[in-house]
Symmetry: C2
Subunit: 454 residues, 2 copies
């Protein structure tokens, strides 16, 4: 039974909101807490591409409410229409007052201004159950699918469509796949994987028009080629959902989201914003960043939840690092920190180290995959700036090791003497451990350079 | 063709020696370097258990010489008998003089004083190819095998023997498996796995005698039980091989190895010792440690190799951390830093956090394994002291993340806001990511404790 007044109200049921609510409950167990969300159920956002084929249905991707309920956090399914002081005006459930408010309203797909984008049979990767059920039905009926946008989500959707037996074309307007996330050579490896799976990949091509009479029948690209399609899925990025922030009168930036300080407080100190809806600053430069990730959202949720009533965790939010991983076919890809492309854009002077090996030792052992690691170090301070990896399933946790190294400001010298653990059936050999060997290759570069210059 | 004089001579062809030679060549490319080893070929030490079944033969576990040869490092197969000043006296190849010497003579199996240990059919886990070929033959002919010693090597050997279809009994004299490496609950999980595979595990039992008339026919335990066996494999730990250090007149400790300073220099500054033969000090306490690991050996090899002629890498060796992983059946286990048992022994005040989940999200996705994480934090300084994990194959890289966290002196607050990357097909859900959730559970303990005490 919803109350009329809560100490803490969280708006938004995704990872950021759930984490903020749980963190608030952990830190302030005596406070009353409510989580308001629009949808009957909340989905695990990163699992959404996999409802298209690997998971039996959308319901297999529901985020359980039990962690919230078991902690006494009320869940209210409704929409906030506005506020009057510290009272939220709800669409259906009247008024709810709060002492602290956390906005976790997430993001919405960007709708590119392409003629025909409103046709029947054109879908986006949204996060609502009913929408995704319709999309899943559309996929099961389709034979030829065009996916527009070759970022992580687009690539994962393509991977699923291929597994579901569809004939798939992927169109990316920049010259490489994963153009904002990884360096060109990694994007090209992803492209090779997809081509090997039978996908037609068209990079460096813009969509001129989505064609059809009421219902989509194809996609016309700039060079005049017409690609027949009975389904088009558009994955052209996300934009912060700042609709509620606007209603509440908080400061926001249309492109980057609700403006927050280093403790995730908005322009009104009793209100916090976390996750995709909150503007983020880059870990290395402090500039606005467009990175949106569930894991970043949750780090923000935990920090905000702990500090709602006083700053208990005295740690400024260091800015968004950006750590992610994905899998295409049988190959995993991951990145943490900045890429070489980003370093160049940001004007950062760097040295690159790379190493390639297999992730079992000897490599004849079962389950071995090739691993390729690329590390970026700051040229003079020697700290690790970014890491990219292609390999087997352990790429997922390697990315978290990279995040730990970067956040901990580790240098090449620290990594050189890192006391790793290795095992024949689980990791590369210690002698060729690629994180260390890529570091050594970077060290040799500046070492030899130093000699060259006298 | 071996020369009569080298700038750098490394003695020992294992991971420590190879790494020291390569690191020396990287740092001092103008120096002449030789690696002397006794054996015609060097084996990958951690791969040795897997020659018994998973690998077709011992030759599949050979460490390639190509990395050394391609860098112009000479390999000399011979034994050092002694020295005269800076001249090594060789068994077969006369005299070789050096400017810097690196000892990497490794370790030898401990031979426990059990009656019958010299019988035919009693083997140790040695590192020489001819010996291991005999052992592999003995395994293929055996039906009933008793393994004495339930540490990592013993457990891995048992795992292989079961896969080879043998009837196996494992005897460990301490009350839990992996008694020196992991906490009792993890040792018990390993025991459950092995039991499920049909192994008879006997913990808390000492071997009174190995019986047989010339050839082994069984093992007699303290309580009088007689276990029939046509093969006994003893894995009761390793001791540093200090034979050469003694001949060279260097300081050593019989149990812990050659005494070295924080740059791995022995009592003679032109001579270094790295790897299992070098005495190690504990990362947290500075006390002598008996941990012997290829990965630690290589961190030492890299540091020594860089600093042979001057201290180029100004970083004191921080002591041995101990990071390792293994796999039993389909379950992987790993640890970095100190266990709860060790913390108690060392008199360290700590708080434990634990978390359990599955390593895919949603957990219905293919390849999901249960993951259980246990973390130890220092009660007042809040730094991470140690981590243990049971899970799927990604445990291997999780251990390296833990090592990074501990070496970087990360606190619970740092890990709480760690910006991890997660992916449905590769990692647990960000909401239940066990490293963070175990950390949160530890934070809640001291938080609530603080409240309890006012």
């Amino acid at each position: 039974m919803a109350k009329r007044r809560y100490d803490v109200v969280v708006v938004g049921g995704g990872p950021a909101g759930v984490t903020a609510a749980l963190s608030a409950q952990n830190t302030y167990p005596e406070k009353s807490i409510a989580l308001i969300r629009r949808e009957e159920v909340a989905l695990i956002p990163c699992g959404i591409p996999y409802v298209l084929h690997t998971l039996a249905g959308v319901d297999d991707d529901i985020m359980p409410d039990q962690p919230l309920k078991s902690k006494g956090i009320d869940i209210i399914v409704d929409t906030v229409e506005g506020r009057d002081g510290d009272v939220l005006l709800m669409e259906r459930s009247g008024k709810i007052s709060f002492d602290r408010l956390v906005l976790a309203t997430g993001s919405v797909p960007f709708v590119p201004p392409i003629p025909g984008i409103d046709l029947d049979g054109v879908y986006f990767v949204r996060k609502q159950r009913p929408y995704l059920e319709k999309l899943k039905d559309a996929v099961s009926e389709a034979r030829k699918v065009v996916v527009i946008g070759g970022g992580f989500i687009g690539v994962e959707v393509v991977d699923e469509l291929v597994k579901a037996g569809k004939q798939v074309t992927l169109i990316e307007k920049l010259p490489h796949l994963l153009p904002l996330a990884m360096d060109p050579e990694f994007g090209d490896m992803v492209q090779e994987e997809l081509k090997g799976m039978g996908v037609e990949v068209r990079v460096g091509e813009s969509v001129k028009e989505i064609t059809g009479n009421g219902k989509v029948d194809g996609v016309l690209v700039e060079d005049g080629t017409r690609i027949p399609a009975d389904l088009v899925i558009v994955s052209a990025g996300y934009r912060p959902n700042i609709e509620l922030a606007r209603k509440l009168g908080l400061e926001y930036d249309e492109r980057y989201g609700v403006i927050v300080d280093e403790y995730l407080r908005t322009s009104d100190r009793r209100m916090f914003a976390v996750g995709d809806c909150a503007a983020k600053k880059h870990f290395f430069t402090g500039e606005f960043s467009k990175i949106m990730l569930a894991s970043t959202a949750m780090a923000e949720g935990r920090l905000a939840g702990s500090n709602l009533f006083s700053i208990k965790v005295v740690r400024k939010y260091p800015g968004v690092l950006g750590s992610f991983s994905t899998k295409v076919g049988e190959v995993a890809f991951g990145v943490s920190g900045i890429t070489e492309t980003a370093a160049r854009d940001l004007g950062i002077d760097y040295i690159v180290g790379t190493a390639e090996t297999v992730d079992r030792h000897p490599g004849r052992l079962p389950g071995a995959s090739k691993v390729y690691v690329k590390l970026l170090f700051a040229r003079y301070s020697h700290v690790l700036l970014g890491a990219q990896v292609r390999g087997g399933d352990s790429v997922g946790e390697m990315v978290n090791m990279f995040a730990t190294m970067i956040l901990g400001k580790m240098t090449d010298m620290d990594i050189d003497v890192l006391q790793i653990g290795t095992h024949p059936l689980l990791t590369p050999s210690p002698i060729v451990y690629p994180v260390i060997n890529a570091t050594v290759s970077a060290i040799l570069k500046w070492y030899n350079q130093g000699k060259g210059s006298g």
